[in-house]
């Protein structure tokens, strides 16, 4: 059993625990793609907040491949791409939100579907 000693602490603080995976997995989406978040209501862990379910957004960045928390919390890493998805504040909160404002979330392939044609 490895036990962390005082001399090991520096290494943990310096390097952390990088979770990004170097795996040849194809992204399902590209920058600029319009996406619709899934209406997920699982009893298990998820990193898709309630306020951002069944909302239309735009993929603005691909962060690469990471374990999927919704399954990784339950023993299955299911590696896949994570993206910055940008939503207008009005898409999320309705017309009381400022028309200028936006929200960005980091979401995984399995949180997203392609937006319906023309949306």
């Amino acid at each position: 059993m490895p036990v962390m000693r005082p001399d090991d602490v520096g290494l943990m603080v310096r390097e952390g625990y990088p979770l990004k995976l170097d795996l040849p997995i194809e992204p399902r989406f590209r920058e600029g793609d319009r996406v619709l978040t899934r209406n997920l209501n699982p009893h298990h862990h998820t990193r898709l907040p309630r306020y951002a379910r069944a909302k239309l957004g735009t993929v603005v960045r691909d962060h690469g491949v990471y374990p999927f928390p919704d399954t990784n919390a339950h023993g299955e890493a299911t590696p896949q791409h994570v993206y910055v998805v940008r939503f207008t504040a009005r898409e999320i909160w309705g017309n009381s939100a400022a028309v200028t404002d936006t929200l960005c979330l980091d979401l995984w392939d399995d949180h997203l579907d392609p937006a319906p044609e023309g949306r």
Binding site: P6, G16, V82, D101, T102, L103, D106
Partner: protein, 222 residues
């Protein structure tokens, strides 16, 4: 809709609601529980308390917002570094020996007159430890997490941060393992200042996007 300001007047300083007639901050059983768990793990040979002391010292005395402030001051005075920081924050922060625990994958967002970025983690309390240290209680509290995504301008106003109506407020909810830091706007009147003097102006809150960096005169009289 605004909460009645007096409704929570006796919330404790960690932002949790007051619990009338059953106040437990911190509860006695927590003190004993923490001590029991540590003793149990030490007895089993799974934890070395000396390692705990080293870790505590690192986050209490060495790693904090002054690291982020020096990154900001460098970016303000070194355009090449700033370009590297915005393009690949991990690589740029490596140059400055920034620790990577809870900052494994960093993204730095530049505030401009066009876009004002604000950071939150609504689901837990993800925070860029390497550049800012451990988060303050308000950042971890449900009041901030619940409100800043929905009424960011109102929350910013409460923090004393005025954002022009034509500026886009862009809220970043840290839902993955990416950690975000804001590169605040450099205030006017700082042209002749050294990197060291500039770093002293940069606050933790400005690197979360809930405030701006005050010009030196404002900072001196604040």
């Amino acid at each position: 809709m605004s909460a009645h300001p007096r409704a929570h007047a006796d919330d404790d300083e960690q932002g949790r609601p007051a619990n009338h007639g059953h106040h437990h901050a911190p509860p006695e059983d927590i003190l004993v529980r923490v001590r029991a768990l540590e003793a149990l793990l030490v007895e089993k040979g799974l934890v070395d308390p000396a390692a705990m002391d080293v870790l505590i010292d690192a986050y209490e005395h060495r790693i904090g917002p002054h690291i982020g402030a020096s990154v900001v001051a460098r970016a303000w005075t070194d355009p090449d570094f700033k370009a590297r920081l915005l393009k690949d924050a991990n690589l740029a922060l490596e140059e400055l020996d920034v620790s990577r625990l809870q900052s494994e994958d960093m993204i730095v967002l530049e505030n401009t007159p066009e876009v004002h970025h604000v950071i939150v983690c609504t689901l837990c309390s993800c925070y860029p430890w390497g550049v800012l240290g451990l988060p303050p209680n308000w950042y971890k509290s449900p009041p901030y997490r619940s409100r800043v995504v929905r009424e960011p301008r109102k929350v910013l106003q409460e923090f004393g941060c005025d954002v022009a109506p034509e500026t886009e407020v862009r809220v970043w909810d840290s839902t993955a393992e990416l950690r975000y830091m804001v590169l605040p706007e450099r205030p006017a009147g700082t042209e002749g200042m050294t990197r060291h003097e500039l770093a002293a102006l940069v606050t933790r809150d400005s690197m979360l996007g809930v405030s701006k960096v005050a010009a030196p005169i404002e900072a001196a009289t604040a």
